[in-house]
């Protein structure tokens, strides 16, 4: 089979829309274009029925009542609504929130904003495998803690947190528990009916649905209250005003329904590809897998290639589309804060590659990727004075580097 280049292995960034999803969406852009809020004619009724059907599909996928699902523009908005909305509503109860240093920026930046307006936030450090120590989480709880926020699946290293245990602890202590599940759909088999979770954020485009649509789960029993962020026509029971994009919502519903229906078949296939990729990369010396391998989704593999600089590695493997923890490839000019939080040094953080495998990847593509990495890492190490030093038995990390150059490079980078 002929491989089409570049190969897309960045499915944690976004996924290609499933053709079955697109087919369901298209009629709602053409013949069935009505506004779901129009109560006076069949255009509106048709659109409303489609929106409610999709709400039921999402609810069935995550194991809740459809009345507990609120449409948003995506996981970032869901997280903002959950955290700001609950913090403002419950601020009389307390001012303290708990989260984790490896959360997505949507959570971390929202927490920073809450700090700015007077809340206090504890940012827990995960263990070196990326997982939270429950005892440390328990120790961070204060009498005035009102909200905790933990992601289900980490977007960079793919580790799965123990949401069940953290939820139980939060429920015992009367803390509102929000979970960012943007990366969990189709990857982790869970049901909200089994979990003590009060708020959960979802995204469609990480699960073969369209961009620009997400949802927030808001528990009804026990009831969780929120103040809205976006005011207007009172859509979504006042939680989130704005005309509902019926085509996007239909797409999200169908994408979630497919994820649920096919996960049992899809996960073993992805696990096989992940194992194959891991085994192939392990033939390269001095590589480090970032994050726990056992408590991890099969879609993700994050590997650091020691003694190779990240940007030149990305240049060398441009036939595959992946993400890097290297500063040079991000807008922020800092190496991955997730890898730094699990204790990786700057060099290993810079030389990390996130491979995220998806529904449409093939075994041939994984074979190609392995061969490409083996060749290019060897070539770049031939060029690397650090690799030469390592082979000569010199401790590269503790070598006395010229501090003058260090200073200047920091400024110029």
């Amino acid at each position: 089979m002929k491989i089409k280049l570049p190969i897309y292995l960045d499915n944690s960034a976004t996924t290609k829309i499933d053709p079955r999803v697109l087919a369901k969406m298209l009629p709602y852009l053409t013949d069935d274009f009505g506004n779901p809020a129009s109560r006076s004619h069949s255009f509106g009724w048709t659109a409303e029925a489609a929106v409610e059907n999709a709400r039921q599909q999402v609810a069935d996928t995550v194991g809740c009542d459809s009345k507990e699902i609120i449409w948003t523009s995506g996981a970032t908005e869901s997280i903002n609504l959950a955290l700001k909305g609950a913090a403002e509503f419950y601020q009389e109860k307390g001012k303290h929130l708990i989260t984790v240093k490896t959360e997505h920026k949507a959570t971390l930046d929202t927490m920073r904003e809450l700090e700015r307006i007077g809340f206090e936030v504890t940012y827990l450090s995960p263990e070196t495998n990326g997982l939270i120590d429950i005892a440390k989480f328990a120790a961070a709880i204060r009498p005035d803690t009102i909200i905790a926020s933990v992601m289900f699946v980490n977007n960079e290293i793919g580790v799965i947190q123990d949401i069940s245990a953290i939820g139980q602890l939060c429920r015992e202590k009367g803390i509102i528990f929000h979970v960012d599940a943007a990366q969990a759909i189709g990857k982790v088999d869970f049901s909200l009916s089994d979990l003590n979770v009060d708020l959960m954020s979802f995204s469609a485009h990480k699960a073969y649905g369209p961009k620009g649509i997400g949802a927030l789960y808001v528990r009804r029993k026990p009831r969780v209250r929120l103040l809205p962020l976006i005011h207007g026509g009172g859509h979504e029971r006042g939680f989130r005003s704005g005309t509902l994009p019926a085509h996007q919502i239909v797409g999200m519903g169908e994408a979630f329904a497919i994820a649920k229906a096919e996960m049992a078949l899809e996960l073993p296939k992805l696990k096989y590809l992940q194992n194959k990729l891991l085994t192939g990369l392990q033939a390269i010396p001095e590589i480090y897998v970032n994050g726990d391998l056992e408590h991890r989704v099969p879609q993700n593999l994050n590997v650091s290639f020691n003694f190779v600089e990240g940007e030149s590695l990305m240049m060398a493997i441009k036939d595959i589309a992946v993400s890097s923890g290297s500063a040079c490839t991000s807008a922020s000019l800092e190496p991955s804060y997730v890898l730094r939080a699990i204790g990786r040094n700057d060099e290993l953080a810079h030389s990390s590659i996130r491979f995220s495998i998806g529904r449409f990847n093939t075994e041939e593509e994984i074979d190609y990727t392995i061969k490409l990495l083996q060749e290019k890492v060897a070539k770049l190490r031939e060029l690397s004075p650090l690799w030469e030093m390592f082979q000569d038995g010199i401790d590269v990390e503790n070598f006395q580097w010229d501090s003058h150059d260090t200073q200047r490079d920091v400024i110029l980078h």
Partner: protein, 127 residues
């Protein structure tokens, strides 16, 4: 990051990669940069009895423009006297490779590597 064709050519076909015997009295070795900054260059020159650079080798850990800058200077150094080599400026390297502004430090590092290699050679000869 969009690189010039010259950078990509040097990156994909680096010239004079390798190592010379650093204990050879004819060889000067310069190593500059630090891994935590993302760039380390090792540049070596072999100087003949007539004071002319006969050979130059490099190894670089760094981005594409760091690799290209060091590859380029190994080409430029061969056949030059030490005094001529000292006149190579980072701006010439940056101009030749059409480096984007955020990558100028790579050319600075290459100039530093030349000076460090010459200094090492001259130290061996008591200068």
């Amino acid at each position: 990051m969009s690189y010039s064709n010259k950078v990509i050519d040097h990156y994909e076909n680096p010239r004079n990669v390798g190592a010379l015997d650093k204990n050879d009295p004819h060889v000067g070795t310069g190593m500059v940069g630090a891994p935590s900054c993302g760039d380390v260059m090792k540049l070596q020159i072999k100087v003949g009895d007539n004071g002319v650079i006969e050979d130059a080798k490099f190894k670089t850990y760094g981005c594409g423009s760091a690799i290209a800058s060091s590859s380029l200077v190994t080409e430029w150094l061969k056949g030059k006297s030490l005094d001529e080599a000292k006149t190579i400026k980072n701006s010439q390297i940056a101009d030749e490779l059409e480096l984007p502004p955020v990558k100028i430090h790579c050319s600075v590092l290459a100039e530093d590597a030349i000076k460090a290699a010459i200094a090492d050679y001259q130290a061996k000869h008591g200068k």
